[in-house]
């Protein structure tokens, strides 16, 4: 016993913390690993008792099966187009408005900003039904336009960029530019935009992931099988073929991998941005 005690006291600092954190990480990544296991085996292997717990060799076969059942690449392309266009436009529209709210005083500024923040709190679902009626009135049901336009009313983006511009872009710099003859748009394009790149890249990922993963609105407004987004197509894969789980999981895998890869690449900046917004916002 006496020999054990000094050893214990020399254990690395925070070992318990690391053990708990590693366990949490395992729980957090387990669904991804298990999705791969299911996607690489046959459905019979998954249904066996006990099920097969190791990676199999049927991934390509399952992928082929997914491609035969839904227009996977078509809906992926649709999603990519919608998410990219939405992201680019949100960045432009929001940064322009945020610049104005941060650095200019004009009649109605406070009222308009209060309106924007107030509506940020409302659940989006309040608007879904009238948005659908509106879209069917103007004949946009089933089109990708119907997905992009409502997503551009991103009040959070303005709220968040405004804080960043207010604190991060010095007034002196803008005054100097004004004296040098730079107009409103040149100040925005040549000074503000380059200075808020970290904030913009956070908002870009936020908007892209949001558009990519959106479900209720595409489900409501898309009725044409040629214009489904990935999430709706994925859900249909599940509804139509409940028994063929290895095929369904191959679809889940194919739909999740691009986003997880993109997120992992940009994760550091994204998480730093998210925490910054959270602490400022509180």
């Amino acid at each position: 016993m006496t020999a054990v005690i000094p050893r214990r006291s020399r254990r690395p600092k925070g070992l318990t913390a690391h053990i708990v954190l590693v366990l949490a990480v395992l729980i957090s990544v387990f669904p991804f690993v298990w999705t791969i296991v299911m996607a690489t085996n046959t459905t019979e292997d998954i249904y066996k008792s006990p099920p097969k717990l190791t990676f199999g060799s049927h991934l390509l076969e399952n992928i082929r099966h997914v491609l035969d059942t839904i227009d996977f690449f078509g809906s992926m392309l649709n999603t990519l187009v919608v998410a990219t266009v939405t992201t680019v436009l949100v960045l432009f529209v929001d940064s322009l408005a945020a610049f104005v709210f941060a650095k200019f005083d004009f009649p109605g500024r406070k009222t308009l900003f209060a309106l924007l923040v107030g509506f940020m709190m409302l659940p989006l679902q309040l608007a879904v039904l009238p948005q659908f009626i509106l879209m069917s009135d103007i004949g946009w049901v089933g089109t990708l336009k119907a997905l992009v336009l409502p997503a551009l009313a991103n009040a959070f983006g303005i709220f968040w960029l405004r804080q960043y511009i207010e604190n991060g872009v010095p007034d002196e710099l803008l005054d100097a530019a004004r004296i040098d003859g730079a107009g409103f748009f040149r100040q925005y394009w040549n000074i503000v935009l380059p200075m808020i790149k970290p904030a913009l890249s956070f908002l870009a990922i936020y908007a892209f992931v949001g558009a990519w993963n959106d479900y209720i609105w595409p489900l409501v407004v898309l009725n044409d099988p040629a214009h489904l987004t990935l999430q709706v197509a994925l859900a249909q894969l599940h509804v139509g073929h409940t028994t063929d789980y290895s095929m369904v999981m191959a679809g889940v895998l194919m739909a999740s991998v691009p986003l997880v890869v993109v997120f992992t690449i940009f994760a550091r900046g994204f998480i730093a941005g998210a925490t910054e917004g959270a602490v400022q916002g509180s």
Binding site: P31, A235, H238, L259
Partner: protein
């Protein structure tokens, strides 16, 4: 006014889209809640009829109960787990970046993919969970047909998705606390538990309030989880699974508005639901604020 035309022009794209696709629809849905309309025929004004029907509609109250139970079952472990993980993560020196990313990753995956996954893992007959229970001699548990277990599975799914997100927010709050305060507490002989409850918690209160509000707004909006999880039941599409135990209020709204084409009733449901969210946000606010005074 005229001298500011550039500013008005610059904010006009946002406010035009905002007006047409957010502001107008929200008020229009309030108007619809007082009408009867199937989307095709004539719009008929019925006053408070939709709301009177709503108050007597057992399915509406069932959906409210389901939503609240799922919300409590997911929010409590999510916020508690996030606080514990953030405290631990704050205390370690190595692998911080790795832990942050690995624990945040569930939040960027799609709810549809995760719901399909949970459906497979908790499947009554073939799921991994029941297979593991089987190896230790426990007979299969009806995860997706027992009313309470259905809610538990949905809550687990939401907990898995949101713990990392809240952890990141708490971590940011912890990092903003000056270390001198902790050193002073240590010199005064305060142990880790006492330090946590008498220093960390009071300072973190505004951030905890923020996460409680966000979790209330997000957690009550569960829709995709039950819709995808139980959408496969061809006999009962969009009904929220066996016994409608997974029928959340938003799923009931979706079903009324877009499956039954009862636009007026759908609008009434979603407005009643909004009032509920606001009441709960205010109650939560009060509870957390009162904790501060005592």
């Amino acid at each position: 006014m005229l001298s500011h035309w550039r500013q008005y022009l610059a904010i006009s794209p946002f406010f035009l889209i905002f007006g047409v696709f957010s502001l107008f629809p929200v008020f229009y849905s309030l108007y619809l809640a007082f009408q009867r309309w199937d989307g095709m025929g004539t719009v008929q004004f019925v006053g408070l009829d939709q709301f009177r029907f709503l108050l007597d509609d057992p399915v509406f109250w069932l959906s409210i109960r389901n939503t609240l139970v799922i919300w409590v079952l997911s929010t409590v472990p999510t916020l508690f787990g996030a606080l514990v993980l953030a405290t631990l993560l704050h205390s370690v020196r190595r692998f911080k970046g790795f832990y942050r990313i690995a624990l945040y990753i569930p939040n960027v995956t799609s709810i549809v993919a995760v719901s399909i996954f949970f459906g497979a893992v908790f499947s009554n007959n073939f799921g991994l969970v029941n297979a593991i229970l089987g190896t230790v001699g426990i007979s299969p548990v009806p995860w997706l047909s027992n009313p309470w277990l259905i809610k538990l599975v949905i809550a687990l799914l939401m907990t898995w998705m949101w713990t990392g997100y809240n952890m990141i927010i708490y971590l940011a709050g912890l990092q903003a606390i000056p270390t001198q305060i902790y050193e002073a507490a240590r010199l005064d002989g305060a142990g880790p538990i006492r330090t946590f409850f008498q220093i960390t918690m009071p300072i973190m209160r505004p951030i905890i309030l923020f996460t409680v509000i966000i979790s209330t707004i997000n957690g009550l909006q569960s829709f995709s989880e039950p819709q995808v999880l139980f959408g496969s039941n061809a006999a009962n599409p969009n009904l929220g699974g066996p016994g409608q135990a997974g029928l959340t209020t938003l799923l009931y709204f979706y079903q009324s508005a877009f499956v039954n084409n009862d636009y007026g009733y759908g609008a009434a449901i979603v407005w009643a639901f909004f009032v509920l969210i606001m009441v709960l946000v205010v109650v939560n606010w009060r509870v957390v604020q009162r904790g501060r005074k005592s």
